[in-house]
């Protein structure tokens, strides 16, 4: 771990997420223990259905583990009530998704402003923060456009701006390049790397593309059948720039 190893941002301790489907018990995440350092870029690598997205949702506080603990800033997410979890999602983590999940009825500005509304940021401060976030992803001139008027890459950049606008310390990305062509995906990955390096932001990215993980992540955690198979230091060290 060559970068940002001066503290633990997230610590998952024997985390499991099991579902009962009829008679079958689905072990989506099974006894996973993992630490992510502050300022680290970690890739969760695995094939489809391996449990990597479920693990990411647990780290995001969108789901609760059936066993184990996820500790962020000294607090166990499993013990938080729904309101505390909402505050955690609002202020501590930012999320981007494979499908972008921008709200189609809102303009870019309104989409990026939404987390600020939910965090009850004063209206007077919002405009500047939205513009700042969109400048980070070079979309400051597309404020009034709706998502349908943007390309896939632009939509994902807008989603990144929305994830950044509340200035979280952790960014969780679920297959952020999954819906993009390779060139556009590269563009997004460079942005993520930039956030990681320039802002010291901790990034956990789910991907099934090993080359991408190897190019940009500091460490690669491989997941299969809900279990953490390995955690390896990236030989490329995410040093590409």
């Amino acid at each position: 771990m060559s970068q940002g190893n001066n503290g633990v941002a997230i610590h998952a301790d024997n985390v499991s997420r099991h579902y009962q489907m009829g008679d079958a018990l689905i072990r989506a995440v099974d006894d996973v223990s993992l630490s992510v350092g502050t300022g680290e870029f970690l890739a969760l690598l695995g094939s489809s259905g391996s449990g990597k997205s479920t693990l990411l949702n647990l780290l995001a506080g969108l789901d609760r583990p059936t066993a184990g603990a996820i500790v962020v800033r000294g607090r166990n997410l499993a013990e938080m009530d729904t309101h505390e979890l909402a505050r955690y999602r609002s202020l501590t983590v930012g999320m981007v998704f494979q499908a972008f999940n921008l709200l189609p009825r809102m303009t870019l500005e309104e989409n990026v402003e939404l987390p600020l509304r939910l965090a009850e940021v004063e209206r007077a401060d919002r405009s500047a923060r939205v513009r700042e976030a969109l400048e980070h992803v070079h979309l400051e001139k597309r404020l009034a456009h709706r998502p349908s008027e943007l390309s896939g890459g632009e939509q994902q950049r807008a989603a990144l701006a929305r994830a950044l606008v509340n200035r979280p310390t952790i960014l969780l990305a679920d297959e952020p390049t999954g819906n993009l062509d390779s060139a556009t995906g590269e563009e997004i990955m460079l942005l993520l790397k930039n956030f990681n390096q320039s802002m010291g932001m901790t990034i956990v990215m789910v991907t099934h593309e090993r080359p991408l993980a190897e190019r940009f992540a500091h460490r690669i955690a491989t997941v299969a059948d809900g279990k953490l198979i390995s955690v390896t230091e990236n030989s490329c060290d995410g040093a590409q720039s």
């Binding site: 969108l62 789901d63 609002s90 965090a119």
Partner: protein, 458 residues
């Protein structure tokens, strides 16, 4: 989320499915309109009835009679309330009238003068009842809306005709104003106890009965000028001899010393050995003061009657009617609330993924619940305002239709619908509350959506 953001997002969401939400809001508006229209008719009818009765001057009136006169024939005696039997009966004479007039909260106490007469107009006879009206009737609303004008002075030889009687005299009642008619009446002349010449008994005591020696009846005539025509019945239903249709100043009626039915009764039962009134009408400052004044008069040894109980019953009747109308009107609103539930449940299905995104970005269950509540509330507010306007229009339409029908029957127009401020505001608040109640289930369902599942929803 702050209330401003919540409202902004709710309005935005409603605008996005404008057709469906407009139809749902229209449903609420129709429901509220039904409620408002029903209640506006109930309130309007109550106001109409109250105003008509108030114009009759009966609500603040107490009818006073001597206990000597009670127990005979006539409607008045049948309706007498229990009297204070511990107080001895006393004659209803001038000193009693002054004493009653001096009671607190009493505006005036005047004798009731009604007598049978024959009106001659264009040389044709028209038998009817005449009533003497006190000068206070000029301002107490009893003659509001009349054609022409009130008596020019308390002693003027003038008359006001009730419209139905005026129609008997002329096909064009309004043309009667300014014309003269002749009042033929039976003047009562007291007979001396032992011989001597009979003299009119009204000289000293107005309409007092001086029956110690009996009296004779002499026909007399008086010419009167018609100055007004009234469509209501200012004294209707309160006297013992039926409705009066010709009104003259009370002071003029007193000077006529016309024979009344009570004179015959007094002679027959020999109850009065001194000058006394047959009855008095006591005007109280406010209907609410009627019970106290009535009790005071009873304690003086007289019997009384007022329409207080009747007004209480009237109020109760209209309250029940309003309640029933409100229930029927609310049925449409109840149906409209199902529309709100349906619309919001549809919105949850359509916006499932959006709810997931909201939660991923930091919305908690309460934010989602409040957002759906706000949408329901906005529909209720808009529907409520529209419904009040629509209900008001329906009420006006019913009034218009009623008046068209009444005008064809040659009857005066009426206003039978009213939307007072309390009804308008109450209906809007009610619409919002009902809409919020309708939003309870959808809001709760939306709030408890699993964000992971919601984000997966296609």
């Amino acid at each position: 989320m702050k209330i401003g953001d919540l409202t902004e997002l709710a309005v935005r969401n409603l605008r996005e499915a404008i057709l469906r939400n407009s139809l749902t809001t229209l449903g609420v508006a129709v429901g509220v309109a039904s409620l408002v229209a029903m209640l506006s008719l109930g309130v309007g009818l109550q106001q109409f009835a109250s105003q008509r009765l108030a114009n009759s001057g009966l609500f603040n009136a107490i009818f006073v009679a001597s206990r000597y006169n009670v127990g005979g024939n006539g409607r008045r005696s049948r309706q007498n309330q229990p009297t204070d039997s511990s107080t001895p009966a006393r004659p209803l004479d001038e000193s009693a009238r002054r004493e009653i007039a001096g009671l607190p909260n009493v505006n005036e106490a005047y004798p009731e003068i009604r007598f049978m007469t024959e009106i001659r107009y264009n040389d044709k006879p028209y038998p009817t009842m005449v009533a003497g009206m006190p000068d206070s009737a000029r301002t107490d609303g009893a003659f509001d809306g009349m054609q022409g004008k009130f008596f020019s002075s308390p002693g003027a030889d003038e008359t006001i005709l009730q419209i139905e009687f005026a129609k008997e005299l002329s096909a064009q009642p309004s043309a009667l104003i300014g014309k003269d008619l002749v009042l033929r009446y039976a003047e009562r002349q007291a007979l001396p106890a032992q011989g001597g010449k009979a003299a009119p008994s009204s000289v000293a005591g107005g309409n007092k009965s001086s029956t110690a020696g009996g009296f004779s009846v002499v026909p007399h005539e008086k010419k009167l000028r018609i100055v007004g025509i009234i469509s209501t019945e200012p004294e209707g239903g309160f006297g013992a001899f039926g409705r009066s249709r010709v009104f003259i100043p009370l002071a003029v009626a007193e000077t006529l010393s016309a024979t009344q039915v009570s004179d015959l009764r007094d002679v027959l039962n020999g109850s009065s050995k001194t000058s006394s009134y047959a009855s008095l009408t006591v005007r109280v400052k406010s209907p609410t003061q009627v019970p106290q004044v009535e009790a005071a008069i009873k304690s003086m040894g007289f019997t009384t009657f007022s329409l207080l109980d009747t007004t209480r019953n009237l109020r109760l009747f209209f309250t029940v009617i309003d309640l029933l109308l409100g229930i029927f009107g609310s049925l449409a609103l109840a149906v409209a609330t199902l529309g709100i539930v349906n619309t919001l449940v549809m919105a949850i299905l359509e916006r499932r993924r959006e709810i997931g995104v909201f939660k991923a970005l930091g919305a908690d269950d309460r934010d989602i619940k409040q957002l759906f509540f706000a949408e329901a509330g906005v529909m209720g507010l808009v529907g409520g305002i529209g419904g009040v306007a629509l209900g008001w229009l329906i009420g006006k339409g019913v009034t218009l239709g009623t008046n068209i029908y009444l005008s064809r029957q040659n009857l005066p127009p009426v206003n039978i619908s009213a939307v007072p401020l309390w009804l308008a505001l109450g209906a809007i608040v009610f619409a919002i509350l009902v809409s919020l109640a309708a939003g309870l289930y959808p809001a709760s369902r939306a709030a408890h959506l699993n964000p992971v599942e919601a984000l997966r929803y296609e």
